[in-house]
């Protein structure tokens, strides 16, 4: 009967990844390896114009000269980039099909993920663009959006249909030269979403993309470009899952947000990629570059719930270029077993009266390592800039680690910067208290974790907050006996 920390540890180790199934779809997969021919091949497969092919090749040549970064607080065997296939498309996918025509096997897969397209369709106010491996298979609500002049489509289509917008903005926030993974992504990205909100338009629904990696030995390199024109508003959610596979899969995405004057972008992520098994075998390497730029009076808000991936390397950031612009970062990162997360944000204050808020909640269990890494940089011309940062860590058991690396660079004396950090442990006393009130230990942990994460969960759009809450419970499910 007696429940000890050892039991907790054992339970944590034996929990399985709920989404660890593999759907058999006929796939069209490129041979492994990366060279100019592969880059050209991807571009050709996508039927891209010449300028895009050149853009990719330029990125590839930059990438070849770069080295993988090693500064993050994560340890892993570096992927062999010549042992990855850079293109994999479900053969039956056709973006022009209506939802009813979607491969029933794909729909089944969504159902297992709890995001069946049918359900999503019924969820009023949610438009979904689903990316399985590399090709978008379903886009809904396109018509409703089109009436408002909103463009929401796979980026491969946007390259064909709106080349002027793509050309103007792609690579302006995350340049090809930015970092190793961003350069790689620029060379080989296969799909992702494109979104443009016209001047003064408030997007009437949440826009949503769901990503998952399916084919073995493939990497996923999606590219998201979101432009909110002057005085517009959009709320965007991306969700990610990957089935369980033994070899580590690479995911290196780039997300660029552009908020023009007086615009507001709310970008929420729920990430539940395969974290590897209890021995630390397999799992997704998630090396992502996400950054947004705010013009005058603009606002960008990043909210993320990270429960998956074996290794996470991710810093959704804001460049507060315009005066009075606002950047926000709200994050929950859960690590279990051998997962490693090094995540946080960069708030670059360039404009006057710019304001940023960082709230990070790290939850570590098993033998995992969970690091917050953040940079708050106040430029010399950023008069009256303000930042508030709060980093809280919650530990379960005594073999996991929580780390906080806050960097602050203030070059203007009018800056006001506040940083708060706490570390706590789920105590036996808390669990006993809940038990005494009839709440079993598993539910008690869920309750405590949800309470701990509440400040961030509250920032998610309503329907996704519920989903995220469920996900937190699943990730720590079976963590105690």
């Amino acid at each position: 009967m007696k429940y000890t920390e050892d039991d907790l540890k054992k339970e944590l180790e034996t929990q399985e990844y709920e989404y660890g199934f593999y759907t058999e779809l006929e796939s069209d997969t490129f041979p492994k390896g990366l060279n100019e021919a592969i880059v050209r091949g991807i571009s050709k497969k996508k039927n891209e114009p010449e300028w895009m092919t050149e853009w990719r090749l330029d990125a590839f040549r930059i990438w070849e000269q770069m080295e993988e970064p090693e500064w993050a607080n994560v340890k892993y065997e570096k992927p062999n980039f010549q042992d990855i296939s850079y293109y994999s498309a479900p053969k039956k996918a056709d973006p022009n099909k209506s939802l009813d025509d979607v491969d029933p096997e794909l729909l089944e897969m969504y159902k297992k993920l709890g995001i069946s397209v049918d359900e999503q369709k019924k969820l009023q106010g949610v438009a979904v663009d689903i990316v399985v491996d590399s090709v978008s298979v379903a886009t809904t609500f396109k018509k409703t959006l089109a009436e408002k002049g909103i463009i929401f489509m796979p980026i491969s289509e946007a390259i064909q249909e709106h080349p002027e917008l793509v050309k103007k903005y792609m690579g302006t926030v995350v340049p090809k030269t930015d970092n190793f993974y961003a350069a790689l992504n620029s060379a080989v990205f296969t799909d992702g979403s494109f979104c443009y909100i016209p001047k003064g338009v408030k997007c009437p629904m949440e826009l949503s993309t769901y990503f998952r990696i399916n084919e073995g030995g493939t990497g996923q390199f999606e590219r998201t470009l979101l432009i909110a024109d002057e005085s517009s508003y959009v709320s965007y959610l991306e969700g990610c899952t990957a089935p369980a596979r033994d070899e580590n899969q690479l995911h290196a995405a780039v997300v660029e947000l552009i908020a023009l004057d007086d615009a507001e972008i709310k970008y929420s992520t729920v990430q539940n990629w395969f974290p590897g098994d209890k021995n630390g075998t397999g799992g997704v390497f998630n090396f992502v570059t996400k950054r947004g730029i705010c013009e005058t009076n603009a606002k960008i808000s990043w909210t993320q719930v990270e429960t998956g991936s074996a290794v996470t390397w991710k810093y959704p950031s804001c460049i507060l270029k315009g005066n009075n612009s606002v950047g926000e970062f709200y994050s929950i990162a859960v690590t279990n077993n051998f997962q490693q997360a090094d995540t946080g944000t960069k708030m670059i204050h360039l404009g006057k009266n710019t304001k940023s808020t960082i709230i990070s909640k790290g939850i570590s269990a098993g033998k995992s390592q969970n690091s917050y890494r953040g940079l708050v940089q106040i430029n010399s011309r950023a008069e009256n800039a303000r930042n508030f940062s709060q980093c809280d860590s919650l530990l379960m058991g005594d073999q996991c680690g929580a780390h906080t690396f806050p960097y602050i660079e203030a070059k203007n004396t009018t800056a006001q910067i506040e940083h708060e950090a706490t570390t706590s442990k789920i105590g036996e006393d808390q669990l006993f208290y809940c038990n005494q009130r009839g709440i079993d230990t598993e539910k008690a942990i869920a309750l405590i974790v949800n309470g701990f994460s509440k400040d961030v969960l509250n920032k998610l759009p309503m329907e996704f907050a519920v989903e995220a809450q469920k996900l937190l419970e699943i990730s720590l499910e079976g963590s105690v006996g």
């Binding site: 009967m1 007696k2 429940y3 105590g427 036996e428 006393d429 808390q430 006993f432 208290y433 809940c434 038990n435 005494q436 009130r437 009839g438 709440i439 079993d440 230990t441 539910k443 309750l447 405590i448 949800n450 309470g451 701990f452 994460s453 509440k454 400040d455």
Partner: protein, 250 residues
């Protein structure tokens, strides 16, 4: 209601309960008094099933069923409630949310549906009025930043919401000023019925002016060494515990 026979329990290598006997019938209020270190809080924790304590002998029966092998949450479902001496904080979980989980988990264990929100709100309104609790209080995080009095009042509020068969109040009077004490005691009195029982653990007779016990027991060195009526409490207040120790040694 509760029947404890020859209960022995230890924490790590330290024997704390050394053959405790007590019987509490429905409708009764029992007070447990005794010097520091006598085992009063241990007794409460062991009845509630705290796993740090190892039961090495004896039995605990609730309504004829041996509960000594049940997990703490199962004992709660069976109707055991412990008002903690030091209630813990759970940041970010509101009093309302906590009580909702608590009620619904107990209902689930009994094969019942979740309590409809409407009924829950009605019950919350009733019970918070009974205990003179400002409803704003219910949206605060559980025990976070609560004063000593607020924590204890919150414990009794939960007791009112859960309607346990057996309530054990572990030093509920400590940290309460006289007004709070009166409110809490009135609450307990109003919740008392012929179908439930209350065990009051206290150092001081003061609380027993408000919650009048049917029986008073003195716990000393892990055993109940003297039992009596409420007059015993007055005698203890006046003379302290030494005379009992002397009596025992004689």
């Amino acid at each position: 209601m509760l029947k404890i026979e020859n209960l022995q329990a230890r924490i790590e290598d330290k024997e704390i309960l050394k053959g405790l006997n007590i019987e509490v019938k429905a409708g009764e209020v029992h007070a447990i008094m005794g010097p520091n270190g006598a085992g009063k809080s241990t007794m409460a924790s062991v009845i509630a099933g705290k796993e740090e304590y190892e039961v090495t002998g004896g039995s605990i029966e609730l309504n004829g069923e041996d509960i000594s092998e049940l997990a703490p949450d199962e004992r709660a479902h069976a109707g055991v409630f412990l008002s903690f001496q030091y209630p813990v904080e759970i940041p970010g979980v509101t009093v309302t949310n906590f009580i909702k989980s608590s009620i619904n988990e107990s209902r689930k264990a009994q094969g019942l549906e979740e309590m409809p929100a409407k009924d829950l709100l009605k019950k919350i309104r009733e019970k918070s009025e009974l205990l003179e609790i400002d409803r704003k209080f219910l949206s605060r995080s559980l025990n976070e930043g609560f004063s000593g009095g607020e924590k204890k009042r919150n414990e009794i509020f939960q007791m009112a919401m859960l309607e346990p068969k057996l309530a054990i109040l572990d030093e509920t009077d400590s940290g309460l000023d006289i007004d709070a004490l009166r409110i809490v005691a009135n609450g307990v009195n109003k919740l008392k019925s012929k179908d439930n029982a209350v065990i009051v653990i206290t150092h001081y007779q003061r609380l027993l002016d408000y919650i009048v016990p049917d029986f008073v027991h003195v716990l000393h060195d892990g055993k109940i060494v003297k039992s009596g009526t409420k007059e015993l409490a007055l005698e203890l207040e006046e003379k302290g515990y030494d005379w009992i120790k002397e009596e025992l040694n004689a």
